[in-house]
């Protein structure tokens, strides 16, 4: 009975871990996008969404991403719906990459992630500055894009380790 319960908990954790992480990272006071450092910030949500869409698409539902985007907009104070749009586009582009890839390669994923980031951030910049008349420091956007791109590589290993840990834990049971 105890074993069954443990198995159930671990399978739930395995299933919802990315979603929980996404919502916690969005709703937490601690914001990777604003670390109060002049030239350092990165978008953790983008890394998480891109990685898990490639690795395990069913882990992050589209509706969850839409809701997470709305929450993100409320927390950051952006026009409602813009983060949802960006998250979903990111998810779509990652799905496209997965569809055209037969053998996954981290390096290729990384380069594609850079292209995706550039597209998304350009879209975000254009819509916020030209349509919604927000003042955005383009240097901060560039720094954010650069570090998000760099950190994808490290977070891939971390997420990979966590995935393996869950799988190992479940197999052990």
């Amino acid at each position: 009975m105890n074993g069954l319960r443990k198995n159930y908990i671990s399978s739930v954790l395995f299933k919802y871990f990315p979603l929980i992480l996404l919502f916690v990272s969005i709703m937490n006071d601690f914001n990777f996008n604003d670390l109060e450092l002049r030239y350092f910030s990165f978008n953790f949500s983008y890394i998480l969404i891109f990685y898990y869409t490639l690795k395990r698409r069913e882990a992050l539902g589209y509706v969850s991403l839409f809701v997470a985007g709305l929450f993100n907009d409320v927390i950051i104070g952006l026009p409602m719906g813009i983060s949802s749009l960006l998250f979903l586009l990111l998810c779509g582009l990652a799905s496209y990459l997965r569809n055209i890839t037969l053998t996954p390669n981290l390096f290729k994923d990384w380069i594609f992630f850079l292209i995706t980031l550039l597209i998304l951030n350009s879209l975000s910049y254009i819509s916020l500055v030209l349509i919604f008349e927000y003042d955005i420091d383009h240097m901060n956007s560039i720094v954010n894009t650069f570090f998000t791109f760099i950190f994808y590589f490290f977070f891939t290993y971390i997420f990979h380790f966590i995935e393996n840990f869950f799988i190992g834990f479940r197999n052990a049971e």
Binding site: M27, Y62, V74, M80, I100
Partner: protein, 405 residues
């Protein structure tokens, strides 16, 4: 080319249109939905505004819960940082305390010496009667700045007694009744207090300005130039009514010192008096008493002891300095001697080697000389059984002039 375009379209369609397992909406549908949401939101559409408000309510409340663990970590981090900072400040305070203690010691010496000198010039006043009184009436009249206190002649209050708040002078007693007294405040225009202006020790009379401060009089021609920020006004003790050195007020650095009437900023706010101390001062008349003598002796002993301690400390420091110098000199000499010794040893070894070489050479010459003379007596031939040339026996034979057998 046609095939690759088809592949691209298929991949895009699959990514954006196909609903995955357990997905209720397609990606493209949700993208359109968010664009609509965005557009309607920008036009303040009522339904969207309602959705916004409800989402904000949910997010703000859940954000507080989600941020809980982080706040705990942050609190603990702050607590640890505070502890570390406390420890650092504690160390700094300890250092400061040591410094202050040493300063306090010298201050004690100065105070004791000051008292002694004041006694010598017969200017040492002590408080002989201190009465704490409560201010009963503080009527802020424009003509008279005074207060009435609840102590009078019944409590030994006399005319002219000084009135203090903490250790600051605020006025003097001008009217004594049986149960009450009137105190003329320093700010009153009729109040005339002999004061001294530090640090140049200029004598003046301070009068009230009829409002809240005082003005200095009779300072014409006095040199009040001062580099300090502000000058301190204390009682001078002239007239013998007050003892000297009671704090009265300060002259701000911004004041023009060339004018005839300088403004004195009185330390105490004379409109906020509640309890005051009515005090009289008298000279220490018991100087020649037995107890005073003892006290004086005790004081002298204290001064002597502290001075001795200081002297001892100074001597010890000097000794330490000398010892350090001597040690350094000895170390220097020692290293020099070591160098010399090393050089001499090297020379000795060289000399010994040259002596050895010379002895060998001399022996060789002696052998060669004797060999010329007695070589035939030792050399082996077919007719005798002597020694072969070059052998040690042959050499011995030559050295013993052919007598070696």
């Amino acid at each position: 080319m046609e095939i690759s375009r088809d592949d691209f379209v298929i991949a895009i369609r699959s990514a954006f249109l196909k609903k995955g397992n357990q997905q209720k909406f397609s990606l493209l549908g949700l993208i359109f939905f968010s664009i609509i949401f965005l557009i309607l939101g920008s036009y303040n559409f009522k339904v969207i505004n309602l959705v916004k408000i409800s989402i904000k309510e949910i997010v703000y409340r859940s954000s507080y819960i989600v941020s809980g663990p982080e706040k705990i970590i942050e609190d603990n981090f702050n607590r640890i940082t505070n502890h570390i900072n406390h420890y650092t400040s504690y160390q700094l305070i300890e250092k400061e305390l040591k410094k202050l203690k040493s300063k306090d010691l010298s201050k004690q010496i100065i105070t004791l010496e000051n008292i002694r000198y004041k006694k010598l010039v017969d200017d040492y006043f002590i408080k002989n009667n201190e009465i704490v009184a409560k201010v009963l009436i503080d009527k802020n009249s424009p003509f008279l700045k005074s207060v009435v206190v609840n102590k009078g002649s019944k409590n030994n209050i006399k005319l002219g007694m000084a009135v203090l708040d903490d250790e600051y002078l605020i006025g003097k007693v001008v009217e004594v009744n049986f149960f009450t007294s009137r105190i003329l405040l320093l700010s009153d225009i009729n109040s005339k207090i002999p004061v001294s202006i530090s640090p140049n020790d200029i004598q003046a009379i301070m009068s009230g300005d009829g409002k809240e401060n005082g003005t200095l009089q009779y300072i014409q021609g006095a040199d009040l130039k001062n580099d300090n920020d502000e000058m301190i006004v204390v009682t001078s003790g002239a007239g013998g009514l007050f003892k000297s050195g009671i704090l009265v007020g300060k002259i701000k650095a911004t004041e023009n010192t060339t004018t005839n009437s300088l403004k004195v900023d009185i330390y105490k706010d004379l409109t906020q008096l509640k309890y005051v101390k009515v005090t009289s001062f008298s000279k220490e008349v018991t100087v020649l008493d037995q107890t005073s003598k003892k006290e004086l002796k005790k004081m002298d002993a204290q001064i002597l002891e502290v001075t001795k301690k200081e002297e001892n400390l100074r001597i010890l420091l000097e000794e330490k300095k000398i010892a350090t110098e001597v040690r350094q000199n000895i170390e220097k000499e020692n290293s020099q001697l070591k160098n010399k010794l090393f050089n001499l040893q090297t020379k000795l070894v060289d000399l010994e080697q040259s002596v050895q070489v010379q002895i060998k050479q001399e022996e060789e010459i002696k052998f060669l000389r004797l060999n010329l003379l007695y070589g035939h007596k030792c050399r082996k031939t077919i007719f005798n059984k002597l020694y072969k040339v070059g052998t040690p026996k042959y050499k011995n034979c030559v050295l013993q002039k052919g007598k070696y057998r």
